[in-house]
């Protein structure tokens, strides 16, 4: 499971780091972690904890660093320790649940979240995460009852580690990082066609996309999409991996674009068409809309909507 990382200011409402010098050190470690220097941040956290072994915030921070380093079991051990020393804090339970969920240990994740809610019944994040865990468990139960193959569905849960300790005071759920898809700005209702870009170029962009798909040229296919394109239910990397698998699996693919209808508004455009897909494994014809935006003088796909 991809654990989205984001920065949140270390909450000050929890007076576990008394001295201001220490507080500065905590902020510095946090900053280093935020910049992506995981090894450096970990080393400083360890140095700090050698002197202040009980410090909840730095231990919490170290847990986040370990999780980002992929040391999930170490992170679990650390958050478990925090829940034992500070049973009144909901965040360590929440993060423990996220880590368990990443290992597909949904029962353990559920138990941890229930603990978090027991300590803070109004803790919205834990409620939301518990809902996600229930959804995941429902999915597993159904896949089993329907004799469906459910492996690889772990990637579907979208739980995020809580990045700071506020003692459950924060009502706001974890916010995704600001790198989310930059959707084209809404266009004014009346707009002139841009002379430099004749509408024909959208058609060639659609065709180039379909041809790359049909050639099974995954790199060219992915290049047709805007750098920040990602489907709503999936991380970009997961989507790319899925597309690569789907495009490389068949021995041959043909993609025909029919009834192409293009509407252009300045530097954005919408192309709607019938897509006749045929491979040695599967055939399907769907109606689809591709939304384009001009990025560096190129039409790139910013949204893909099947009907």
């Amino acid at each position: 499971m991809a654990l989205p990382r984001f920065f949140a200011a270390v909450a000050l409402c929890l007076a576990v780091s008394a001295a201001s010098a220490q507080s500065n050190e905590v902020q510095d470690i946090n900053l280093q972690f935020r910049k992506g220097d995981l090894a450096g941040a970990l080393a400083r956290a360890n140095t700090f904890l050698a002197k202040n072994p009980k410090d909840a915030q730095v231990r919490f921070l170290k847990g986040l660093i370990l999780a980002d380093l992929g040391k999930t079991n170490d992170a679990i051990a650390l958050f478990t320790g925090l829940t034992e020393d500070y049973p009144e804090l909901p965040e360590p339970y929440n993060n423990l649940a996220v880590l368990y969920a990443s290992q597909s240990k949904y029962e353990a994740a559920k138990n941890a979240l229930e603990q978090a809610i027991r300590t803070h019944p109004s803790y919205a994040t834990a409620h939301e995460n518990l809902g996600d865990i229930y959804a995941k468990m429902a999915s597993i139960a159904y896949d089993k009852a329907l004799a469906l193959d459910s492996k690889n569905t772990a990637a579907q849960t979208k739980l995020a580690l809580i990045q700071d300790i506020t003692g459950g005071l924060s009502r706001k759920p974890a916010v995704k990082p600001a790198v989310a898809a930059a959707k084209p700005a809404p266009q004014p209702p009346v707009s002139k066609p841009v002379a430099a870009k004749p509408a024909g170029s959208i058609e060639s962009a659609v065709n180039a996309w379909a041809e790359a798909w049909a050639r099974r040229d995954v790199d060219a296919y992915l290049a047709a999409y805007a750098p920040d394109f990602s489907p709503s239910d999936m991380a970009r990397a997961d989507w790319e991996a899925l597309r690569r698998a789907r495009i490389e699996a068949p021995k041959s693919i043909s993609v025909d674009i029919l009834n192409l209808n293009v509407e252009q508004q300045g530097t954005t455009a919408t192309a709607t068409f019938r897509q006749a897909y045929r491979s040695n494994l599967l055939s399907s014809t769907v109606t689809k809309t591709l939304k384009f935006a001009q990025i560096d003088g190129q039409w790139r796909i910013v949204d893909e909507i099947p009907h």
Binding site: E107, I133, Y134, A138, Y142, L148, S284, V286
Partner: protein, 383 residues
């Protein structure tokens, strides 16, 4: 997400015309649950229940979705009361999902429909193991699948032997009539197509029972669980209406198999050629007036009406002796392999017989069996 589910997703978005809305919505909600998208699943199942309030499987899934908001779900039907029918509803869900996820190989066909005369526009093939009825269109003798439906079969399964055994027969039948809802009780829903069970082969095997129909569902339920009838093939009422447009009373063949034997086109071609050749050699050997050559096409177990092989052979020898010439023409030839019996076939044709002292046209049905590597006639009926 598995490949099968992705394929199913594509199928759902491409919305095959022949798939009923209810079927598609149910599958879409199951798909959404499998992908942990519970609010979307609930939305879909709510819409389904609004149009089909008596769809019990949909109600069960809705119960689960509400339960799953408050506690982990252990299985499909967790919110239902434990009962034998719950297992059957689960089986219905499995079968409906299978129809979507296990896409049939498009280059393969059921082994049975070797050749159909042009006036027979469609043939039905039931796969009891999948709770599915497939409609094949006859395109110049080549069967092309145009629709398929979820079906319920006998509560005791397949292989009817005797009256009251609650089994659905295995064999090849013909749709021979239609009963409108006005002639029937609510139990039969939107109508009934009657079938020719028991056919002459069933009768020869001593199989009993009657009234094996393809019919709709009672008003209190959208569909029935996979095994619930007394031997009939049961569809949802809207599906039965859709099926109606493919039916020709007196003509449409219905093949009922336990589990369809799927074969490649080439295999079908070679089987067709083999059987068609056997039929043609029989025809020319008859024209040769050599009784020995003709009788070599008949099995020692041959029967026609009350006539056994010995009586038949004696009469043929006598008749042939009085002929100076015979011409036999065969039209509207139908060649079908029997389900669950790869070396057994039902052959039908219109026979134009001419000779020096007698001419007639007869519609014949023959059962052929491959004995010691050679196709032989085991049963013949003149209609």
């Amino acid at each position: 997400m598995t490949r099968a589910w992705l394929a199913a997703l594509l199928l759902l978005t491409s919305a095959p015309a022949a798939m009923a809305d209810a079927d598609r919505q149910l599958a879409a909600s199951l798909l959404a649950i499998s992908q942990s998208r519970l609010p979307e699943a609930l939305d879909t199942v709510d819409r389904l229940i609004r149009t089909h309030p008596n769809f019990r499987l949909a109600q069960l899934i809705k119960g689960d979705l509400l339960l799953a908001r408050a506690q982990p779900l252990r299985t499909l039907g967790d919110a239902g009361r434990a009962s034998g029918e719950l297992d059957q509803l689960r089986e219905e869900a499995r079968q409906r999902v299978r129809a979507l996820t296990e896409t049939l190989p498009s280059e393969k066909l059921p082994a049975y429909l070797l050749d159909l005369p042009d006036d027979i526009r469609h043939a039905l093939v039931v796969d009891a193991s999948r709770s599915r009825l497939y409609v094949y269109e006859n395109r110049a003798g080549l069967p092309v699948r145009v629709a398929d439906f979820y079906v319920t079969i006998g509560k005791a399964g397949i292989g009817k032997q005797k009256e009251g055994d609650n089994r659905t027969p295995v064999g090849i039948y013909t749709v021979n009539g239609y009963k409108s809802p006005r002639e029937l009780s609510d139990f039969y829903g939107s109508g009934a197509w009657t079938l020719t069970y028991p056919n002459e082969w069933d009768q020869r095997q001593g199989r009993t029972g009657h009234g094996i129909w393809i019919h709709g569902s009672p008003s209190d339920t959208y569909s029935r669980v996979p095994r619930a009838s007394e031997g009939c093939v049961v569809l949802a009422n809207d599906d039965l209406m859709r099926l109606g447009r493919y039916m020709q009373a007196g003509k449409t063949p219905v093949v009922i198999a336990d589990s369809i034997d799927w074969v490649a086109y080439e295999a079908l071609d070679s089987r067709r050629a083999e059987l068609a050749t056997a039929l043609d050699v029989w025809r020319t050997d008859w024209e040769s007036r050599d009784a020995g050559r003709l009788l070599a096409h008949y099995s020692p177990s041959f029967r026609s009406g009350r006539q056994d092989f010995a009586a038949f052979a004696a009469s043929k020898r006598k008749v042939n002796a009085g002929k100076t010439w015979i011409k036999v023409g065969l039209d509207r030839i139908g060649l079908m392999l029997y389900p669950e019996r790869p070396d057994f076939a039902l052959v039908s044709f219109e026979q134009n017989y001419q000779s020096n002292n007698l001419s007639d046209r007869t519609v014949k049905r023959q059962f052929w069996s491959r004995e010691n590597g050679r196709w032989k006639i085991v049963h013949e009926t003149s209609l």
